[in-house]
Symmetry: D2
Subunit: 285 residues, 4 copies
């Protein structure tokens, strides 16, 4: 059913929680394309989600690990290389969480210990993964590493809070380490900036449904789904994209290059109905 | 009333049609800041608008010229240098028009002769002005040149049509000539990307009022007015911004860095009222 | 040898001159991936180059056409659909030429008739291709269109001249038409911004070899080759990248995200040898 | 001597160490333009540098504070408002330091405790300053806040290490808080991305002199100096730039928009002298 794009390749997928997760779809598609993989997530996420089911289905070793712990990450690489019989060819970082958002601390009332956790979980974990891999020389030459990002790294979304700063840092880490790992081992590192996606993580954000609707109407091709993101990850892991590195790749149906679409504006204008004067002019509050 | 920021400086302002024009406000503010200026616009615009009134008020010579004609532009510089008694220190390009938009040719049905006119009027005229000035050595060292642009150069706005491509080219010309004129004479060249502004030009665009409303609600500081743009032009013409060049400067109350504001989303959500099911969930069509 | 990524797909490749051309490699790879294609180039290019050889080898119809002529382009689509037995799924625009560069007119001494030609050949031709396709409804839903661009569209390269402005406009057309064609038929339109590549076209630029060397040393993965670009085009034509549109995709070994590499600086520092004082400090002129 | 651009305005300048510091020049220029200010720096920096001399000269209160301490920052605002007799109108954040760079930990061997310090000092301190100000409502409506950044936030510079990630985060904080503070109190927040500048901080970076030389030759107007940066800060603090917010403003003589200049390439080519074969072709290693 696949195209053998990852035939013989070995990979690690971080962050598959349940079948709504992008990482879940990526894992499935990678295996379909001929890869063998391991999965990793936190012990808590493994308990709360259904990652074990995925591991069984894909015949993939599941390695519990806290991605903020260098020691845990060392185990992930050691056990992955053992399970897969060699070095890694690709890796997905799909990890992000803001305790400030969880605790309803607004951006003008951040708890700085929680901010440190947001950064550690959502951005620095990516550096730790890369540094551990680098020190162990655990990624084959011309390997490919991806992290999932979001457009709030460039343009402020209300309610996205300190995750915006974490994503900006995540994308910077991709560039900074992309240079180092590229020049040393030709490993490429990119981020994919995905449409707002209805996952367990995404659905926590305030007014998320309306945002998804707006984004759908703004994007000429509509929002990108998790399954489509998985396809894109596959090509970015394959040998066909060997010279793409240090990039933030928008996978969003065109949203990032839209200023205003007719469809979104048409909907927006409806919001003023009943707010018109006799001449039909919109009365702005 | 001013701060003498342009004391003793000489400038040319292209494109003041009437007192709604950004160029009109820029002309007024430059004089207020101590500059002497000349004005230029097409013979047709001079007939249709009230530029002569402005010229009288500011004691500025008005030089009719078609900015797509190299000959006419040569006259503008010759007459300006004569009227002002020396070389130019600053220059504003506020010129843009799409015959395709005027003739209601949509972007998938462009008339290519009209497209050439759009480009010639709205983008190439800027190159011609700069090339004429360069060949005449008509701009003093450390002079400052501005052109007005719009965010559609980066992100597509429905209905903005071939003007988007013209603005993208305009901004590119600012960079390309900014390099050449900078290295030769330290002249700096920038574009200002302004909020949608209710001018005679702006009001021709379909659904413009709603766009202005959306932009107002998206921008934390609200849309930038023509008068505020004039202030910004003054500082970019002054000696206090000598090392800023080849930039596209957003002057838009923050719009360009916004993904979604609470206020805009709040308004957007109103558009779904009457479209909710019993449970209060939005029914998406 | 391929992965059947374009099995059953039909495409048109514009701009293959000889076996150094990127378009040549793209054509070969598309066929290798299961596509059937037609080729198009100007009559002059066909006489000067070896496109016919490629056509024979790939069993592809070669359709001479001036891409600035709407009539010629109509023939290209009519004949392609007839030869391929249906609508098009993908298309490559690899067309660019500056008569100003050819005639050694520098950017501060442009001939405006030649500038119009530069724009018409290198940018507007892309709009014409898209508009002709759109009006004929010649591209299947979810089709994919690519044009080749270059980083000078964002950052000025000495000697690249009016091609920089043309590339900026080309990328804008991809966005503008990407919106229109996306919302109507889900066709996606992107540009690939490729490393400087030693092709017949590229080699005309002054100091090109040194630029290629600098770029090679700056890019952690080195410059991207024409063959690698062809691989990237294949994935962008495939169904695995369906939601990527209106993007400018850098395919450059990381160059676009580099400020300065150690290797490039190491080489740069060598230029000062013999320019050091007794203490070994570089003497800057 | 000034233009009264900040007449009657009150400000706080963080980070003036000695007369090479950008913050030092900014403080001087603000006072020259009619402002009254306070200064703040760490107790250590005050001991090592000459900030007290500046305070005396400008008749400005010097408030020692660790900008990573919320308590200290609360004192800075309380004491500033008392000393200045009211709320603040403008503020400069010129704070940055990487303990990893100091301890020669390369980017592939970061100490994560030190990374936390880099982020805390160089980026999170900006959030803390803004959050403290916001909670105290210590900034007047339409106040202006600046932080100094560097181009490594967008494009990787070898040796800049974890400071690149810190600067990326700093710029993100400017956007995120720019939205919040803008919608609530019309306070604008921007970063200025300055040329590499020979300050005490800048001079710590490996190969810094050669980088400054390269940058000088790349920039059509040459590198921006600290004094010129101070001028730019003044206009960004003034009422003439009221609608500019959430922007990263390049102040770099055009560097950020340059791909390659003739002057820089000319110098680069010299590095190959003695590396040519008989035919004069460069021999690439």
């Amino acid at each position: 059913m696949g195209n053998n794009l990852l035939k013989g390749k070995k990979g690690i997928i971080f962050g598959a929680l349940n079948d709504m997760s992008i990482a879940w779809k990526v894992a499935e598609r990678c295996v379909e394309e001929g890869a063998t993989i391991t999965l990793s997530n936190t012990p808590l996420a493994i308990r709360m989600g259904t990652t074990e089911e995925l591991a069984t289905k894909l015949n993939a070793k599941l390695i519990p690990a806290d991605a903020t712990s260098v020691e845990d990450l060392e185990c992930v690489f050691d056990e992955s290389m053992e399970a897969l019989g060699g070095k890694i060819d690709f890796l997905l970082h799909s990890i992000g969480m803001s305790p400030n958002v969880r605790k309803k601390r607004t951006y003008d009332d951040l708890d700085y210990n929680l901010l440190n956790q947001t950064l550690d979980i959502s951005a620095i974990s990516f550096h730790k993964i890369l540094q551990v891999a680098y020190k162990k020389n655990a990624i084959n030459d011309w390997g490919s590493v991806l992290a999932l990002s979001y457009g709030a790294a460039q343009r402020t979304m209300y309610g996205y809070n300190d995750m915006a700063d974490a994503k900006a840092m995540l994308e910077s880490i991709a560039r900074s380490f992309g240079y180092i790992y590229g020049r040393a081992h030709n490993v490429r590192i990119n981020t994919i900036s995905q449409s707002p996606t209805v996952t367990t993580a995404g659905s926590g954000i305030k007014g998320f449904d309306s945002l998804v609707d707006f984004s759908e109407r703004m994007s000429p091709l509509g929002n990108a789904t998790a399954a489509e993101c998985a396809d894109y990850c596959v090509v970015m892991f394959s040998d066909l994209t060997k010279k793409v590195t240090m990039q933030n790749l928008f996978h969003d149906g065109g949203y990032s290059s839209m200023g205003m679409s007719y469809r979104a504006m048409e909907q927006y204008i409806k919001s003023f109905e009943g707010l018109k004067d006799e001449a039909g002019n919109i009365i702005l509050g």
